[in-house]
Subunit: 314 residues, 2 copies
């Protein structure tokens, strides 16, 4: 790899490569920097690092919302602020952990109204109150382009119960919470409540062998979980819990569901389903398929579907 | 405060308010969310929160670099990556702490070359190696506007020696490291080494009563430190250590110096100066003035100067 955008022979764009290839290359550049306190550095919902106590690990996660990509200029700023904090909290839930302290980086055009900015922070503060997170700081800049904010969340998980994407084995059953699809069309992506109670309960009872949150759509995210667990996967299309009015394809590819996808050993699945119905009677839980042997890519109908790609669907 | 940019009677822009007023309002919206683990939430170089050990506090800091604001389209991406990590490390140095783990949020136009993105990450990785920081993750998005990245740094400081902006008292002498001004003109803002050795040494020996790093220029930053310490301030213009070729006004207002500004009790100043000359013979240390009684705004020549304002100098 020879650097310098100007002199390079092949001017390969990030769009041509696609999000997963770009992220894979960037993670490889980061790997040599990882120190002894890093437990998981890249490739999972959150980074995991050691804390001053061996019983507790720290979770670190940053994610961005960008005008024109994750919200529209006319979107109420309160909902944008809510979404920005809720989505990083969802990543912590997917490891069985909870967020504690958030930093907000934000850039706006200089002619943006102060009322808009207040709305963003009112939304962030509402989510912080609801999710028991402290908004401890951040930075504000101007930009000549669309407004954006990035939230960095610092959280905590019990070292004993932290769930990674990589712990699944062939034969584990796959479950999702809620319904999938239509998150943009219904506006749910701006107002959703992250599955923190569900995620921490699942982890505390050690049901999931692997877990992640669905942000780019099942068609993109399930292969990532399966790959991290060195498994193949099979889905039963009739079982996918589609949001009312959505097709199975929409449920697989719309993205921004912020539901939990997790694998459970077949031997504990019945116990999970019984307990779940008592603890979370209001949250739908659906078995949608299973992890299989490596190389099994599931129903060919599904292996050609793609979820949201940040560099190929702009 | 009534929300909703569209219906509001006064469409006050962020530029009209100015950075300090904007940040002040936003911090007030965050304050109700602060929990019992928050030691410093907003208004200092970093946020400070409790850790699993009472002897150690965690430092949290995020900051952004934006194309067209903090770097130019033609800037070598390696230097942009270096700057992005070095500047948040400088904030930790200003509290006597060190960075440990970093997350990188990044957005680029889809037609941006992969070589440019590799360059950014090579620069981040170089800084991470030099500063002993692990790059543990992040997120990548596309944007229709200029490229940007935000780095969130998680670090550590001894609870016993953490230095805030607010500990100065009238009569304390003011010092700066290095020389001020010309950081943009010379390109130093892209290549500087944060004053981590100096900051941690100062804190460990409990010399500073208050400290911060200079990012917006002494003319903006000194009044912030003085205000946090409920003091006034006086500068001796003849003592300001100007970068070669810079005027005193440039040294006060150019910004992006990433040098340390700190206050020291008059009773320990001589001891500091002697020790410093032995420990850091290569780093200039200059006494530039003193904190004074509240309301004293220093030489009137200086009270009319302003450093960089993100919303008023775009």
């Amino acid at each position: 790899v020879v650097g310098g955008g100007i002199e390079s022979v092949t001017e390969q764009t990030v769009a041509a490569l696609g999000e997963d290839a770009v992220v894979g290359e960037l993670l490889a550049l980061c790997r040599p920097t990882l120190g002894p306190e890093t437990i998981v550095g890249g490739g999972d919902d959150c980074a995991v690092v050691a804390s001053a106590s061996p019983d507790t690990w720290l979770l670190l996660k940053a994610d961005s919302v960008i005008e024109g990509v994750h919200f529209l200029p006319e979107t109420e700023p309160e909902r944008v602020g809510w979404k920005a904090l809720a989505r990083v909290s969802s990543d912590m839930a997917a490891m069985g952990g909870t967020g504690l302290h958030a930093l907000v980086s934000l850039a706006v055009p200089p002619n943006r109204s102060m009322d808009w900015l207040r709305g963003i922070y009112r939304g962030l503060a509402s989510a912080a109150e609801a999710l028991n997170i402290s908004l401890v700081g951040g930075d504000t800049s101007h930009t000549t382009g669309p407004a954006w904010l990035s939230v960095a969340l610092h959280g905590r998980v019990s070292a004993d119960t932290c769930v990674l994407r990589s712990g699944g084995t062939p034969g584990d059953l796959l479950y999702v919470t809620g319904t999938l699809g239509g998150s943009f069309a219904t506006g749910r992506h701006l107002d959703f409540t992250p599955r923190i109670s569900e995620g921490t309960w699942l982890a505390a009872h050690k049901y999931p062998t692997a877990m992640m949150d669905l942000s780019d759509g099942l068609a993109s995210d399930l292969p990532r979980l399966a790959k991290a667990s060195r498994c193949g996967w099979r889905l039963d299309p009739h079982l996918i819990p589609c949001t009312e009015g959505c097709t199975v394809t929409q449920a697989m590819t719309d993205g921004e569901d912020f539901e939990l996808l997790f694998a459970v050993s077949a031997s504990t699945a019945e116990s999970l389903e019984i307990a779940w119905s008592h603890v979370f009677p209001g949250t739908r839980l659906t078995r949608i398929g299973a992890l299989t042997v490596p190389g099994d890519l599931g129903d060919p109908t599904f292996s050609t579907l793609h979820g949201y790609d940040h560099f190929q669907h702009p």
